[in-house]
Symmetry: C2
Subunit: 436 residues, 2 copies
């Protein structure tokens, strides 16, 4: 029998085996951090991220075969973010034990918003400090089941309690189509929709809703009514670097944000408000207590994890292989807007807004806004743009009439899946060229 | 040097080390099944269940040292269920990837309630069929952020849309203290609180809220007004075997349930409605769309898992070592009510309600109700029972005046943690004996 080479002696093999023992034990003890493997049906479907960077390549959009299906871009379902979060893999996985969060209450040290999970509060402050898009110092955080619920909480909190009748709530057209519906849905005696802020002439107190960047058209906004008894609510759902340059740190009395449009987690139903005034924050908390006895703890814990991943990605970024979440998302929207503008230029029969380029303090570059929605205007000859796109090209959009504007405009989601967006581009390029 | 014993030779140690490697690798690959270890701060605190049966022993309540702290039994925080869910361990653990549930929408085959997760719908039907407490056949399921939101959705759906002014909403006193607050909080033009159903005399349409078993007093209820234009909402939050015998399968037009009181997962914020009429279900869905654009998908997925564990436990039960969730919960409440009744008998200065014994079709035995709240009445000499207990014994309860009844009554939670309940029992036994 040949002698076993010295390097393969029992002792050396034992040392090697013990080293493997040690690393496996460390792996188990490290638990649900980067290296743990979960064999749920979901995980077996997707690639496991081996590091902290996602490698989404948005520069090459392959051709998508048009199967003639209806393309629904009517709503802002943020599925464009799916790819990033799939590639992040277990980095953003939440493990929730069955015994956790049974209680209505959080261990939150008598926080004014008694149902806010402390971890979420911490991550909200962190992400705003990292991005530099909103003041958090000396602000109360109120968490809500989406910013939709927080909007209603703010109306409840800010409406007067005297017998002067419902306060008017206005916003400059084109305004977010849901605002009038939400405001008036149960005919509140505290507040009511007062219409277009640009034409608002009534005396007395009013609430003005300033959405900036605006939904549907993407423009940055300031208050419009500007009279002495105005109370402002700032909806900053889209004030993130993937949509618009961050030129200053927003500093308003009531600022609303939502996970749906910052990280893309719409199904999670988490929003938050940064509120200056204690009494206002207290009343907003009271509304949410009466409406839903707080906010899902499971969603709050997931949101804190997701925001942590986002903030971590910002702090680790700096080179091609380790872009932050916002850089990835900026790239995705940048490419889409570039293609849309090209299609508009080629077609010459529809337009999309132009935005002034500005320097973004967070991304460190100059660019023009690339909003979550395209406010597309059909050219001459087309009175009802929504009808035209629906009937001629099976593209569903939301008509400008729902935004207090006219039917020559439509709002089109720029946040849908790649496949839908590509087919949309292809169809609008051909529809306008062949029809007009 | 001594010769190393043969058993400790390099070769044998290598074999042992390789065997350890193999089992560690298996452990990692098996992932989040029964044997995986999660090193989160939470898991290090609790024992990991090694099987599917929980072994909660409620028969021996050890003495709890009274540290003179304030005992708050004012609210129905269902922490009594923590022990069961801790002992279930990973059986009820939910693993939620970061990329899951980004979308607002579910893949739910055009379900009327478009944001309902199909898995949750399935488990809701299953648990009701297993327990036999409500008809699900031909019913629409509407999911909500707790039954609190569904109550408001039902009011929205059932209120007339003519110009007749807000419809009155009534309930027989003592009624759930939050109903008037929720109903009137934003002074809706569609509905308003109309007070005690027992003294309601107005003509025309009305909505009657029937809570059965009732909160606060635990009695089974039927409609009280019984006039021709009445619309009924049945709040069946406590119609589960741990609280009351299941004597029949509830069959009403609108039936509300909540995870908070069925499984104890209050922080999850999940409730559901079983609705007979399609238009009513559609309008309830519309309300929740306007209020919060649906319901947290993460909570829905967790709820479906929790309900599955509960239904599975019912199907596996049948002997001492494998009790169902409901049998465990029945035992916990049974013991508490026995101790409370004993304390009442010994003290003779306060009373709690007696209930008729009935046969429970699910548990297969005869027992009297053991509600989630004790509707305690202080004896003569004590006009304000809440004040007495708060000042003399540092026990916080909810005064009967908030339930449309008088101050000699208080509502006391029977769902709090063992430690708090024990101290409460000890104090009320001594307080009444020493003071009166």
């Amino acid at each position: 029998m040949e002698q076993i080479p010295r390097v393969l002696s029992w002792r050396n093999m034992l040392v090697l085996s013990l080293a493997i023992n040690f690393s496996l034990i460390l792996r188990i003890l490290k638990g649900d951090d980067e290296y743990s493997l979960y064999r749920t049906a979901y995980f077996s479907m997707w690639p496991v991220a081996s590091g902290s960077s996602a490698s989404c390549n948005y520069n090459e959009m392959e051709e998508e075969k048009d199967d003639d299906r209806i393309i629904n871009l009517k709503l802002g379902d943020p599925t464009v973010y799916e790819r990033y979060w799939q590639e992040m893999g277990e980095m953003a996985t939440m493990v929730i034990p069955g015994w956790q969060s049974l209680s209505y209450f959080s261990d939150n040290n008598n926080n004014l918003c008694w149902f806010l999970e402390p971890e979420l509060g911490k991550e909200i402050v962190r992400v705003h400090n990292v991005v530099g898009n909103a003041v958090t110092q000396d602000r109360f955080i109120v968490v809500g089941t989406g910013s939709t619920q927080l909007y209603q909480a703010a109306l409840y909190a800010l409406s007067p309690r005297d017998d002067s009748g419902p306060i008017n709530v206005v916003s400059a057209a084109p305004f977010y189509s849901s605002y009038p519906l939400i405001t008036d849905c149960i005919k509140s005696g505290l507040y009511r929709w007062g219409g277009d802020a640009k034409t608002y002439k009534e005396e007395g107190p009013y609430i003005e809703l300033v959405t900036s960047p605006n939904n549907p058209d993407g423009f940055l906004r300031k208050p419009v009514v500007n009279r002495s008894k105005g109370i402002l609510i700032h909806d900053l759902a889209y004030y993130w670097p993937q949509y618009t340059p961050i030129t200053s740190i927003a500093d308003h009395d009531v600022m609303l944000f939502t996970a749906s449009k910052s990280t893309g987690h719409a199904g999670m139903r988490i929003g938050w408000a940064l509120v200056k005034d204690r009494e206002t924050a207290k009343k907003m908390t009271e509304y949410i207590e009466l409406n839903t006895i707080g906010v899902s703890k499971d969603s709050q814990l997931k949101a804190s994890k997701v925001l942590k991943v986002v903030s971590d990605s910002c702090e680790k970024s700096g080179n091609e292989t380790a872009k932050s979440f916002f850089e990835h998302s900026y790239d995705a929207l940048s490419k889409r807007w570039e293609l849309l503008r090209q299609a508009a230029k080629n077609s010459q029969h529809f337009t999309v807004p132009d935005f002034a380029s500005q320097r973004c303090n967070f991304l460190g570059k100059v660019f023009e806004s690339q909003p979550a929605f395209a406010w597309l205007k059909c050219g001459k000859g087309i009175v009802d743009c929504e009808k035209f796109l629906r009937e001629k090209q099976k593209i569903l959009t939301k008509s400008g009439k729902y935004f207090g504007d006219d039917q020559s405009y439509v709002r089109i989601s720029m946040l849908d899946r790649d496949s839908n967006f590509k087919i949309f581009l292809h169809r609008i390029s051909s529809s306008f060229n062949s029809t007009l």
